[in-house]
């Protein structure tokens, strides 16, 4: 499972956890998030801006 981080505010999307509040179930891969996904915390960085931080 991979983790992707917002370069602006450090919000991290961890595919193994998903994001309950946003409605992404655990196991939802980052690449499967909607194309218009934007950072849920700062809203000023988009899917293409996210950086993969580490994989297990």
């Amino acid at each position: 499972m991979t983790k992707h981080q917002c370069p602006e505010c450090a919000y991290t999307y961890d595919a193994s956890i998903g994001d309950e509040y946003e409605g992404y179930l655990p196991g939802t891969l980052f690449k499967d998030l909607p194309d218009d996904f934007f950072c849920p915390d700062c809203s000023v960085r988009f899917k293409i801006d996210f950086i993969e931080v580490d994989s297990i």
Partner: protein, 295 residues
Amino acid sequence: MHFIVLIAAAWWISINQLDWWGYLSLSIVAGNISGLGINTGHELGHKKGKFEKTLAKLVLAVPFYGHFTIDHNQGHHRDVATPIDGSSSRMGENFYAFVCREIPAAITRSFKTENIRLQRRKQDFLCFDNQIFQSYVISTILQGSIIVMFGLQIIPFLFIHNIFAWLQLSSANYIEHYGLLRQKDGLDHYERCKPHHSWNSNHVFSNLVLFHLQRHSDHHTHPTRRYQSLKSYDDLPSLPNGYLGCYLVAYIPWLWFYIMDKKLLKLSHINGDLSKVNLDPRKKMTLIKKYQEYN
């Protein structure tokens, strides 16, 4: 704290036989205090913690503006300084036209945003997890109990209070991005919001009252940064006065256009090029005719 102000004002009205003038003034003053509350709600709503988000819902509930956090964080910050943003004013658009466009746009965009989230969670739009309704419920309880406590005569007070709180927010939104436009860097993708996409002001009084909200460029470049650390850059779009002074100018459309249109076109990244300005489509031809000499 804002709850107390509202209830105290309502109580004052109920025990004193105010003439219409006193009633109106008190309603407006209370509305403006709640308008400052929206500003507090703005700060809290940007925080990541659940506790702060709850406080934001509470304080925004006072003037019945609970959709603000969602619309602002996930709508305005994403779309700022583009024609699709209801909360970015366009060149040639007067304050009153802006208000009529902004307030409904904020409500629809926030409902849409929240609906998409709830759909992903396989929940109905009308459910307890709806962040907007949570705040509206608090508003209904608060303003409903004020009506129960002080009688129907208090309804106009609440109405005027809410409107003036909203107007204060709209005033801020009107001056913060007037005419500024992000360029498209892809087919349908706008460039990132940069410091020159916000108007700034650094007057002491506004600094104190508004928690440095008026250092607006930095706020939009780094929305989650704490307000105290918002930096003031040099050579940015700068407003001619503090926020409150600018509000007053904004209420007189011809004066606002007279001062700001020139200032806008003089900005170094625009330099008279109207294609780099967020133009009001209805005023487009007039503005192009008027400012031809800049090109």
